[in-house]
Point group: C2
Chain length 249, copies 2
DNA sequence: ACGGCAAAAAATGAATGCAATATTGCCGTC
DNA sequence: GACGGCAATATTGCATTCATTTTTTGCCGT
């Protein structure tokens, strides 16, 4: 994977990777090649973007018309989406969109924390000087946004750092799984209209300092720990924001 | 006409394997309820148990005959198996069994290490006195097998401890994902006829002492670390055993 | 004997058809 | 007006069918 050239352009470096985290590699094989792969991606996005409400039944016929395919590839896609956790298959009663209750959301955050934790550990084993530089770059760009209170740019950099750490971990299976699970959280953001909140901003910024520091020192065990707790704290903040209880139920 | 014979007895090579740690909850919804769910489970087991060789094409027609279903549910199952990583879908060229090369196996071990690491951390947050007792029990039973050099019993207890830790973590999504990924490694065991080896036995036993100790003290961070390295060491041992290189390639 | 080409065969991918099941709308009764 | 039963309708799950594409086979020429 080409690592981005060390062109010292903090501001522009990110804008290019801006758009959408997009697809894990997991379904690159399915993606554009076949009808069902196409339908899978489109239907997944359709659900992630919240066009179907939690618990709503998935109208096969309508979606067939919408996508211009017959029921066969659509139903194949539904089976896959069920295994990914986006829908639930009820015997003889079709598919329903699977929303996340507070408990599942909490679980999902912890699992993501586990992935990031692992990624941090592995990244410390593999990271090159150039890559440390790259992360630093993004970090300082993010710091700039932080100082200027530009939430949007801050958020993009934040995402980029976490994504790069996972990529640098150099474990394709991890990467694919990470992004796949990330999609399920992404949907919550759409649904709950969960724009990033300012609470905890300075705290998160401090945590990122620690992340960068641990990366520089290649302190895998430590970074692993920091990243898990970073996600935990994010979970706490999100739950606070949503008015959920933070204790197990 | 109406076939509908829920029994689905091919009477042929499919073992009536009862045990199997079985099932993540992930497909409890798919499992016995529908034809495609049934086929999914059976085909997955069929592949895990090595009835199809790495890279072999998956013969739709034959399997349809074997399972006594039409191509539709079988193909639906194939799509899911592809998303789980057991097969690869080649456009217009059907499905091929996806074997793991050394690199992917290494990645998979690390991901499992990540899951166990996370599980240990969470388990320390949740574990009750009774559950500690239970783990201790298994641990000492395992120690007995160790002293008597009974590899089989030792191995069963070993598995049980790791499984219990994951369950005690109390994160259903983690549990489901853990077992799902475990299946892919399970296949390697079948294929490579990877009986447990004696190497590293005493070392592994010592590590398990540390695991139990950390659990007792509810030292999550520590246990997290121990478990990751435990898996790493296991990976090293397995790779040694298989004659693979242990360094990244 | 060997390699290349064309036709046949088989496989795949997707659409359609059909029986079984769920859902809806309607009506009568309380 | 609310409720329960019943027919009409829609939906689901799977089998079957159809159009392509791939693979194999058979043939010919060199």
């Amino acid at each position: 994977m080409t690592n981005i050239q060390p062109s010292l352009k903090p501001a522009s470096g990110l804008s290019e990777r801006a758009p959408s985290p997009d697809a894990a590699d997991a379904e690159s094989s399915l993606a554009g090649q076949s009808l069902h792969g196409e339908v899978l991606c489109r239907l997944r996005d359709y659900i992630i973007e919240g066009h179907l409400k939690d618990g709503a039944r998935v109208p096969e016929r309508e979606l067939c018309d919408l996508f211009g395919v017959s029921r066969t590839p659509l139903r194949e896609a539904l089976k896959v989406l069920a295994s990914e956790g986006f829908v639930e298959l009820l015997p003889n009663r079709g598919a329903r969109v699977k929303g996340l209750d507070a408990n599942e959301l909490r679980e999902l955050f912890d699992v993501m924390g586990g992935f990031e934790s692992l990624a941090g550990r592995l990244a410390c084993e593999n990271i090159s000087a150039d890559e440390i530089n790259e992360i630093e770059q993004i970090h300082y760009e993010m710091y700039g946004y932080y100082l200027r209170r530009e939430l949007d740019g801050y958020f993009r950099c934040n995402q980029a750092i976490h994504r790069r750490i996972v990529e640098i971990a150099g474990n394709k299976i991890l990467t694919a799984t990470y992004f796949s699970f990330g999609n399920r959280i992404r949907r919550v953001r759409y649904i709950a209209n969960l724009d990033q909140h300012h609470d905890r901003w300075s705290e998160a910024m401090r945590e990122h300092e620690a992340i960068l520091d641990a990366l520089r020192r290649k302190a895998g065990r430590e970074l692993s720990d920091i990243l898990f707790n970073h996600l935990r704290n994010k979970r706490y903040a999100v739950f606070e924001h949503l008015g959920f209880s933070n204790s197990a139920e």
